[in-house]
């Protein structure tokens, strides 16, 4: 089972994110692998541990992306591809086009990635890639079942319940974080990661020209980032619940127009 896991390197959203003049401040930011992509790496590792094969990571971005790729290799992935990319703002459509070029001529059974990336929370790139590659897609999976001759069983969280699907490979699959708990890299894993193969490519190596990259290659544009209107801390009530609860409800009705 050959699995390619595209990952996105993102600012750690658990920490403070600052905006200056409509742009996210990168200075002093701690970068991590997007959480859902870690889930995807773990899913790929578990599958190759059971069925054989290799996990290849794919990262697109500036030099610092290689650190995220090394972290994924430290978890146990076998090799990585870094498309060194410094073309500026690029949307999901643009990224999907680059990934399509990377996939050309490569052998894989599955492209497995997070359902959305933690920086944009857009959830578009993987499905666009599937369309461009003319592959079937299943998004938001919460469980893998068995691999049989007639396909891989996957469990998808849909709007009406959990869908049980039979998927013929190769295919694009995105994961929900209920799928697994990603392993931590061990010290040994970190040491071994340094020696694992990291293929370095540029957009020129992929035969892409300027119109296909950055803002020119994008269909949508971010005009600016902003902090949303923050919720202010409201009133607090402490004491006997027999008093605080009726007090709160009274305020909810009179101030906030609660109706039950």
């Amino acid at each position: 089972m050959e699995i390619i896991v595209p990952i996105r390197q993102v600012p750690d959203v658990a920490l403070n994110i600052r905006v200056n003049d409509g742009v996210v401040v990168e200075d002093g930011v701690s970068f991590v692998i997007s959480s859902w992509d870690e889930t995807a790496i773990e899913g790929a590792l578990q599958m190759t541990e059971e069925l054989g094969g290799e996990v290849t990571l794919l990262g697109i971005g500036p030099q610092r992306v290689s650190e995220a790729l090394r972290k994924g290799l430290a978890m146990g992935a076998h090799k990585a591809i870094h498309v060194l990319y410094e073309e500026g703002q690029t949307d999901s459509f643009g990224y999907a086009k680059i990934m399509t070029k990377v996939m050309e001529g490569r052998n894989y059974d599955m492209i497995l990635t997070g359902k959305q990336a933690q920086d944009t929370d857009a959830g578009l790139t993987a499905s666009m890639l599937a369309e461009f590659l003319e592959l079937p897609q299943v998004t938001n999976i919460i469980r893998f079942g068995d691999l049989a001759a007639d396909g891989l069983t996957v469990y998808r969280k849909g709007d009406h319940g959990t869908e049980v699907l039979g998927l013929k490979l190769p295919a694009v699959v995105t994961v929900n974080d209920s799928l697994n708990e990603p392993r931590l890299a061990s010290m040994r894993g970190i040491m071994m990661a340094k020696k694992k193969p990291m293929e370095s490519l540029t957009p020129a190596d992929l035969g892409m020209n300027a119109e296909e990259l950055g803002l020119q290659g994008s269909m949508t544009e971010v005009l600016k980032f902003e902090k949303p209107e923050s919720r202010k801390e409201g009133e607090r009530f402490e004491g006997e619940e027999t008093e605080t609860v009726p007090m709160t409800l009274q305020k909810l009705v009179s101030e906030a127009k609660l109706a039950v």
Binding site: M128, V138, M219, E233
Partner: protein, 320 residues
């Protein structure tokens, strides 16, 4: 001339509220709107959709479409969009919408903007605001192309306005072949008699402070008594105390009700990202340092097991 094609959705024999929100939005913006409805036994909804402003209803009604699948749904939306001459396609942020939005966009060779919480529409010139970075930031975006624009809009962003009685102009779509590479084998359907999380105006939600299934079940009746949907944090669902369908959060259901009651929920980032759009947040937690108190409009520092019976009594009084 701008023309919107709304991708409608139904569940349990009813059109889902977010669909009506989208049609109402188109109407309020004086945009010509048509809609496509895909499913099994859904044709009877056409008049309702017309009443909400759909000038044409494209129907794909077939037993094989009762469960979502990417291939047929994408092909059907493509067909309807071409027949309609739509300049914009609007979808909701349901799981169907999330899967379908990018595939439809890529089918047409265009981009998409997803999970939009604000739209500024000037004909086909659209600027949007959407949350990002686990809702810590928002981004203002626009389309770069002049052609088709594909957007998904977060449920609860706009109101569904009252509709008039409608008589639909329907168009039957021919059902395309399914993709043999994806076989829908089964669906584990959830209970149908509970209020949908992303359509409820009140949500009563439980977290790890409940201590287990029993604790969650202790709070649950309050939801029913308040006419609320029942939600749970990821910790509660991952621990198996409550089924995942109740999960509120960035990877569960994103909710924006009028009132969100959080019982024993500490307020982890991905949870806040899933409910920070609530108009009023009420938190009940023993721990005064719980992050949820920073976003709660009303915070009760107390024992949820003592608070719930008092809530039940007071709610009973309010109803009489």
């Amino acid at each position: 001339m701008p023309k919107v094609l709304v991708v409608a959705e139904s569940k349990n024999g009813e059109i889902k509220k977010p669909t009506l929100e989208l049609l109402s939005l188109a109407k309020s913006q004086n945009l010509q709107a048509e809609t496509i409805l895909i499913g099994n036994d859904v044709s009877s909804h056409a008049d309702l959709l017309a009443g909400y402003g759909a000038e044409k209803v494209y129907l794909a009604d077939d037993a094989g479409l009762s469960i979502y699948n990417t291939s047929q749904f994408t092909a059907l939306v493509e067909d309807a969009a071409k027949q309609s001459g739509a300049t914009q396609i609007w979808l909701t942020s349901s799981e169907t919408g999330r899967d379908l939005t990018p595939r439809v966009a890529a089918r047409f060779g265009v981009g998409a903007l997803s999970d939009v919480t604000e739209l500024e529409i000037n004909g086909d010139d659209i600027t949007v605001v959407r949350p990002c970075m686990a809702t810590k930031l928002v981004q203002q975006c626009r389309f770069r192309n002049d052609g088709l624009k594909v957007i998904s809009i977060r449920a609860g962003t706009y109101e569904a306005t009252e509709a008039s009685a409608g008589s639909a102009d329907t168009v039957s779509l021919s059902i395309p072949e399914g993709d043999p590479r994806v076989e829908v084998r089964n669906i584990q359907v959830e209970e149908t008699n509970e209020i949908e999380l992303n359509e409820a105006s009140i949500v009563v939600s439980v977290g790890r402070g409940t201590g287990g299934t029993e604790g969650c079940e202790f709070v649950k009746p309050l939801a029913g008594e308040m006419g609320a949907a029942f939600g749970a944090s990821r910790a509660v669902c991952d621990a198996g105390w409550m089924p995942h369908k109740h999960q509120v959060g960035q990877t569960g259901t994103v909710v924006s009700p009028d009132f969100y009651f959080a019982f024993g929920i500490s307020g982890a980032i991905q949870h806040l990202a899933g409910m920070s759009g609530s108009k009023v947040i009420v938190a009940i937690n023993k721990d005064a340092e719980a992050p949820i108190f920073k976003v709660a409009d009303y915070g009760i520092i107390g024992d949820l097991f003592k608070a719930v019976p008092v809530f039940q009594e007071e709610v009973g009084k309010l109803k009489n």
